[in-house]
Symmetry: C2
Subunit: 307 residues, 2 copies
């Protein structure tokens, strides 16, 4: 029942010798989701020991090159690897036109389907769900239409209290009914409320990805109680004016967003190339939100189960 | 008067954790030329200490993704860096359409011009020249239209023999005339043949890039006497059949090409991902052409001046 976020890229638009552009792999119950796809993402996946064929879906926040240029080489390679399973891609328009250009000139014979879903970056909407997770869009404030993503683990199945099973001598059928959330009717005619028999093994976990964006109180509110928040921190507070003009956030604003959301932990990234060492940004954020950590290529943040 | 080739990528289509797709930087007299542009080339340039703004022109052998996907992110970044100088790009059609797609969706406001020249991959033709170098196309045999490139340094200026200057008491004007290749008429009326006064400081140097291709005797012949030849060696000789089917060469065939061309040195690359260690390919080639070296990211091959 894993819930992990692996950083594949921590840079902003200008490349550096050590940092890669924005990309992350989210592992929820051993199913992998790609969040943004900066150039080199396919190699970063390999370096981090993540099989690109395991990707279930890709979520692209916006159509600036440093968040999407790595997707097209990845699509080609998945064809070389022999993928047959369709790949769902969530991205704002006109991604479909860009994809069509790529397929026409480079992958006319791709052996699997790329299914594009247009995200409405103005809406907080459910984009994807399966038995274990829901993925919601989070409207962001950038220079172009941009949405972050909120990954919400679904309620885990109920566990049945072993002592109650013994106490009431429950049959397999009664235990199964209890796991379904039903009350149990004993042979004696007594009805045992489900709440007395079962408990949630752990609280559903959540992860929010917020990049690229100006500070947004609304986005923070939509992430209330999140276990782990990634928030872009392209600049230090001293560069607040540049950040505002360019549709980016400062490290202090990232911390403010985590504070308002009541997040458990904050990861910052999307560092401007002017910061050779990101520790200045981390220290700035920690003065506001102590549980701040730096996005560094290859680092995995595990969200442990908790009550 | 530098003449250097830096390997930016040595892999074939499938990415590995350590190898990058095809790309090289050719430095001729401190002017830089990009040869192929696999994904991540802009970061590889930075890692190798080559300022992407210094690129004069890019030469793309063919339109398979592993040779061109890195060009578009590079074009975007050059815009961010504030490039104003036009960038010449030599590539087969329909590169212009692909470039138009990129510019429409990602770089509508690029602050410099990308000037595409369509290469006719069936012709051995002069593509580019300036005062120091000529670049010629070399038709190759791949699954799609593909041309290699031959970089030929121009004849260096004549040096005038100091002893002859003294012997004949030449004036500045007479020395300048001799440097232009003219005979010199002394005040005595005696005519001194230019050949007696001058000498070439060194022989023009040359570099051939041959990828992707089946073995081609014609391509080898067009590189006769080349100082340094890069030839793809995707497979070992044992995989000759696969190599032939896929439009690639074996390491032995790369060595055979260098042997036929009378090259001074051979560099092999474009290794299939099945070869975790390329030494097996180098050893195979060295049995035929001893002066064979492995393309490894970050390695620079310097072509020294010689008579």
């Amino acid at each position: 029942m894993s819930f992990k976020v692996t950083i594949l890229g921590s840079a902003s638009a200008k490349p550096t010798a050590t940092r890669h552009p924005s990309a992350q792999a989210v592992d929820i119950h051993e199913q992998y989701y790609l969040v943004d796809a900066g150039e080199g993402v396919q190699q970063q996946l390999v370096r981090c020991g993540i099989n690109p064929l395991k990707l279930r879906a890709a979520f692209i926040s916006h159509l600036h090159g440093d968040h999407v240029f790595g997707l097209f080489p990845l699509l080609s390679s998945l064809g070389l690897y022999g993928r047959r399973t369709p790949l769902e891609v969530f991205a704002p328009a006109p991604f479909g036109e860009i994809l069509a250009c790529h397929l026409r000139y480079f992958d006319a014979d791709l052996p699997y389907e790329v299914v594009w879903h247009a995200t409405d970056t103005t809406q907080h909407a459910l984009l994807w769900e399966n038995r274990t997770v829901e993925v919601w869009s989070i409207p962001l404030r950038h220079r172009v239409p941009c949405a972050g993503f909120l990954f919400r683990e679904k309620e885990p199945p109920l566990n049945v209290d072993k002592f109650r099973i013994a106490k009431y001598g429950l049959s397999i059928a009664q235990i199964t009914a209890a796991k379904r959330g039903e009350d149990v009717l004993l042979d004696s005619g007594e009805r045992i409320p489900n709440a007395e028999l079962t408990y949630r093994p752990y609280a559903p976990r959540s992860y929010a990805y917020l990049s690229d964006t100006n500070f947004s109180a609304k986005a923070a509110r939509l992430c209330t109680g999140v276990d782990l928040m990634y928030h872009e921190a392209t600049y230090a507070a001293a560069e607040r004016r540049i950040a505002r003009e360019r549709g980016h956030a400062t490290s202090a604003e990232a911390a403010e967003a985590a504070l308002r959301a009541g997040a458990r932990r904050l990861v910052i990234g999307h560092y401007s190339s002017r910061y050779k060492d990101e520790s200045v940004l981390v220290e700035e954020a920690r003065r506001i939100f102590p549980e701040t950590f730096a996005a560094i290529e290859g680092t995995t943040f595990t969200i442990e189960k908790h009550d």
